[in-house]
Amino acid sequence: MSIEKYKIVEGQVKVTYELALGRTWSHFYDCFKEGKIMGTRCRKCSRVLVPPRSFCPRCFEDMDEWVEVSDEGIIETWVYVNMPFFAQETKIPFISAQIRLDGCDSGFTHIVGGVDMSDLDKVRAAVKLGGRVKAVWSREKKGSIRDIEYFEPVK
């Protein structure tokens, strides 16, 4: 049996899911809409986590005390992303970072912007480990993670 050209079928699957955010994250994003970043505190270890959790992933205890944290913090680590991939919502190049918000005990993942992205050396001069950044909020808030457009370095 000789095959000149193997056949290939191209397929794309599009289906709809309805995913519940639950009580805790619904409240978190309601507050986001008002320009506030809320975390929850663990009854046992007292850590404040953002995004909030309904239970502590370490102690496995309820986290039902709400705490407002700052929209300013320091960069724990960052990456300059220059790779386009399917379903990516942010235009490349962009910077992803872990930001330790003041008053919070975990890193908050978001985007760092407001810097000259034209070359990597300029980015490195502006974005540093331990550098302070502050949230730039969107004018139109929808109650989602992108209500903060990005965090920009504090001059």
């Binding site: 680590t77 220059n82 790779m83 991939f85 990516q88 993942t109």
Partner: protein, 378 residues
Amino acid sequence: MRKVAITHVAQSSGAESRESLMDFTYKVNKEILDKAGLKREEVGCIIAGSADIFHSGLSCANAYDWDGIGAFMKEGSRAEESVFSFIYGCMRIMSGRYDTVLVTAIVKGSENPDNDPITCFYGDPFYLRPLGINESSVAAMQMRQYMNRYGVTEEQCAKVAVKNLGNALFNPYAHVKKRVGLEDVMRSRRLYDPLKEMECAPKSDGVVAVLIASEEKAKELTATPAWLKGYGCSMDYFNPGDRDLLNGQLKAAAARAYKMAGIRNPEKNIDVAEICEPYAFQELIWCEQLGFCNEGQGGELIDSGITEMDGSLPVNPSGGVLATNPYPARGLYRVAEAALQIKGQAGEHQVGKKVKTALAHSTHGFGGQCHSVVILSA
């Protein structure tokens, strides 16, 4: 508990295949049964390692995976981390339920989307996914912290890719075959700075099968069994922002495996290691956490040449995941390669020293969320 050993190994060629996943799978499973001189009916139980949704896009595993691995009309099971499939198989022998189990991990990476859009789906849909976070971006953030905390250089990280792609030239089953120098890696595109393109694993096709057996049966089937001596696994919290990316769960997984195997000094007791390094610098961190060197000394470890093919503790003589990355199957590839080194059947990439004890490691998830360690011994 009964003893259990790997008796035979079979794997597909590293090239991309034009066969359907089912036929691609069948060939390797037929090969391992022929090698062992067994009929499908004689194998106690058959277990799959596969991911049927994002890494396959075909259908439910019952359709393609089951037929191809010959698991129909038998007791079977499946895991998406193929080292879990391996250990599920081992437990079925240790418990006395079966005398032989065939474990097969399969994927055709060439057929489905790139790793980055797939691993973006590992993020939750409310927070991380809309921010475009994937395994590569978390790995790059981990790398920046690693270099900053310990003074490890970009060049030392890049050397891992030079070493492993160099080793792959001697492995007929490897996917990426090219000799690269340090400059090539350093100059490759900065897709996720500080990570560079050649420091990121490709996406590969791969089917790997291992036949495991009870003590009595193993001795009947082969003169060179590779005995399971230890296993450990640990899973970290999910949110990468709520973890120390440089102090994950590998130490805990390794401690469990070492305790079971009676290993007190891994650097001396282990002769060769096959480590899952989808990003070059991760080999250095994982080596530290496996106890091959002290914390923060991964850069000096690669500089010393100890982990080269002819060094005192070769790491990834097969070329590792940087050369061949059939994502859900890559853990079982490490186990299979460790077994081949013990059996003395690794061919041109057989390490220089005599191998008595070998370590296989697997990881998946953001920044190495989950780690598994397997210890095999002659």
